[in-house]
């Protein structure tokens, strides 16, 4: 779960990391009031769960409350990489001396936490990694030991930091590591981490991703989940316990099991089609769940045909076939649906389907044939 900048900063502040004073505003009026309260020049920053807002015009600096309100007016409602801006963070100014980069993430291969630091902050760290890899300090942290004092020194010395900045960065790192572990984050990123003319080190931005699996022990964070920004279809799928990701194509795809569905998308693409979504209905043959999944997929107006790829494992093919028929019964979609059923008791399942399928349902024996058929149906005009 990704946190907005203002939420991430709130978490960092709880762990003693300095930030600028800021107020969230959902309207130009609120932004004006915030500017008046803060005084002086402020930054008006779009709150969106994506990068690149600076380039997209999602950050503006203004001094007069009227100008701040105007800036907020321009930013609110903007779309940045498909994310609509519904709030801005109005943040006090600072006299910045240098911009740095600091992040901690879970490193899968090492099975440790990985700290990245660079004195080249404020820009995309991947650009730094490409153009000047030596400018990035990498330190792996053993979770059983935690962040050791020598590792903090390692970072500050390797980066060539001295004096107050070295101390400030060291302190921030200790605090950030604590936030990372106690907050069950999979990523915490401060870009830029800045030093100010008066010797402070503060987080000018904050990107925090909290491990979804940990939310049971972070009720406060779980509550931040911002339901109304999610795609309405994705939201409905979430509530139904379905794994659903919307894509840009026209072949709706359903299946049981994440790997099998991913593979189905690939096979459809190889057959010349464009998947409209990823939808994993999970195990079992719950007619209710399958019907909901079908409805969600069908509600995407771009979808012209649907491929339902099922591998009967523990749930036998005959049961799956019956569940599917019940689901088709409930669903009132007229989309052409290609069903491919394989695995345990597949023959019996196929027989049941063959005897009862509605007109808009086609059955195929293999994944490849099913994919071809679904693509063909789109080319034939679909629904």
């Amino acid at each position: 779960m990704d946190l907005y900048e203002y939420q991430g900063k709130e978490l960092l502040r709880q762990y003693g990391i300095e930030t600028l004073e800021g107020i969230v505003a959902a309207s130009p009026e609120e932004a004006r009031a915030a500017a008046e309260k803060l005084g002086g020049p402020v930054a008006v920053k779009a709150q969106v769960l994506t990068g690149g807002r600076g380039k997209a015009g999602g950050i503006k600096v203004a001094e007069e409350p009227e100008d701040v309100a105007e800036a907020a007016r321009q930013i609110l409602g903007m779309e940045i990489r498909g994310h609509k801006v519904r709030r801005v963070l109005v943040e006090a100014g600072a006299e910045i001396e240098s911009e740095m980069y600091l992040s901690i993430m879970v490193d899968r291969a090492a099975k440790k936490s990985l700290i990245l630091f660079s004195t080249e902050g404020g820009i995309d760290i991947e650009e730094v990694a490409e153009q000047n890899p030596d400018a990035i300090v990498r330190i792996y942290i053993d979770p059983l030991l935690g962040l050791l004092p020598y590792e903090v020194r390692e970072l500050t010395f390797a980066a060539g930091l001295e004096g107050d900045i070295a101390k400030g960065v060291g302190k921030t790192l200790n605090n950030l590591y604590e936030a990372f572990v106690e907050g069950d984050a999979s990523l915490v990123e401060i870009n830029p981490l800045v030093s100010t003319k008066d010797g402070h080190v503060l987080a000018l931005d904050a990107k925090v991703t909290v491990d979804n699996s940990s939310l049971f022990r972070h009720e406060d964070i779980a509550e931040l989940h911002d339901v109304d920004v999610a795609d309405p279809e994705e939201q409905r799928a979430l509530e139904a316990g379905l794994q659903y990701v919307k894509l840009d194509g026209d072949v709706g795809i359903l299946g049981n099991g994440a790997g099998l569905v991913m593979s189905t998308l690939d096979v459809v693409a190889q057959a010349g089609g464009e998947p409209a979504n990823f939808c994993d209905v999970g195990g079992g043959a719950n007619a209710e769940k399958i019907a909901t999944a079908l409805d969600i997929v069908a509600s995407n107006q771009q979808v012209k045909s649907v491929l339902f790829n099922i591998f009967g494992g523990i749930t036998r093919g005959d049961e799956v076939a019956r569940g599917l028929l019940a689901a088709l019964d409930r669903s009132d979609t007229d989309l052409p649906i290609v069903v491919r059923l394989d695995g345990t008791n597949a023959d019996e399942g196929r027989r049941i389907l063959a005897e009862n399928t509605p007109e808009n349902v086609y059955t195929e024996q293999t994944m490849l044939d099913a994919a071809k058929k679904a693509v063909e149906l789109v080319q034939d005009g679909g629904r």
Partner: protein, 292 residues
Amino acid sequence: MAILVDDETRLVVQGITGHEGRFHTGRMLESNTQIVAGVTPGRGGQDYEGVPVFNTMEEAVEETGANTSVIFVPAAFSADAIFEALDFGMQTICCITEGVPVHDMMRVANYLRVKDATLIGPNCPGVISPDKSNVSIMPVDIFIPGNVGIVSRSGTLTYQIVNELTQRGIGQSTAVGIGGDPIIGTDFIEILKKFEADPETECVVMIGEIGGNAEQLAAEYVQNEMRTPVVAYIAGFTAPEGKTMGHAGAIVSGGESTAQAKSEALEKAGIGTATNPSEVGELVTEILNHDS
């Protein structure tokens, strides 16, 4: 022979009295797995389908000589269950549970380094050595005994591919679902090593997906260290960046983690890489025919 589980497997089911634990204990018993004990704190002294239930792993191991465990306890308590299994000498531990926090798993994975044990999972379907032992939630009916080892990050995709093999009359030595989470107990390489050391395994199928770079590391290992031929399949070519595709670990988060990059690394290492599940069956058939 086989790897990880076989005739010697004496299984304890951690979380045997829960819904999943009960269901899959029944299935594993049906496939003749030697389940010697179950553990559920507070349920010691009961039994389930003739399997005695204990309060702690210590008791279970002392009383029954269990050497392998399978974990069905809820995600919040899974790491604790894994530590308990490790501390009481389990050689193989399959954690089926989905949704174990990643920081818990980092601690577990680093503790594993001091233990002479193999943890499979979490969020995995388990391990099956057909006709020997079934420590999994996999559909046992689609498997037949044979000489192809399977190692996979995905459940149903494994079934799909095993089915392709079985339909061609090609049996399996052991199938290992290593799990779809970002931090797992055992990566491809450790399993490939075991298959390489297993005289019964003549060919290995490795099933990968987007996320991380475990497939690249495995490719390097196969190229440099393995004599047993390997066939690979990668899912997720059409996955967009930044979206989790079902598995917590299946997310494109950088150049290395795309299916494209993995596939290229595998081919560069000389590993036959199928473009769809069916082709896996074809490639394996070729290898086995060529060898015989």
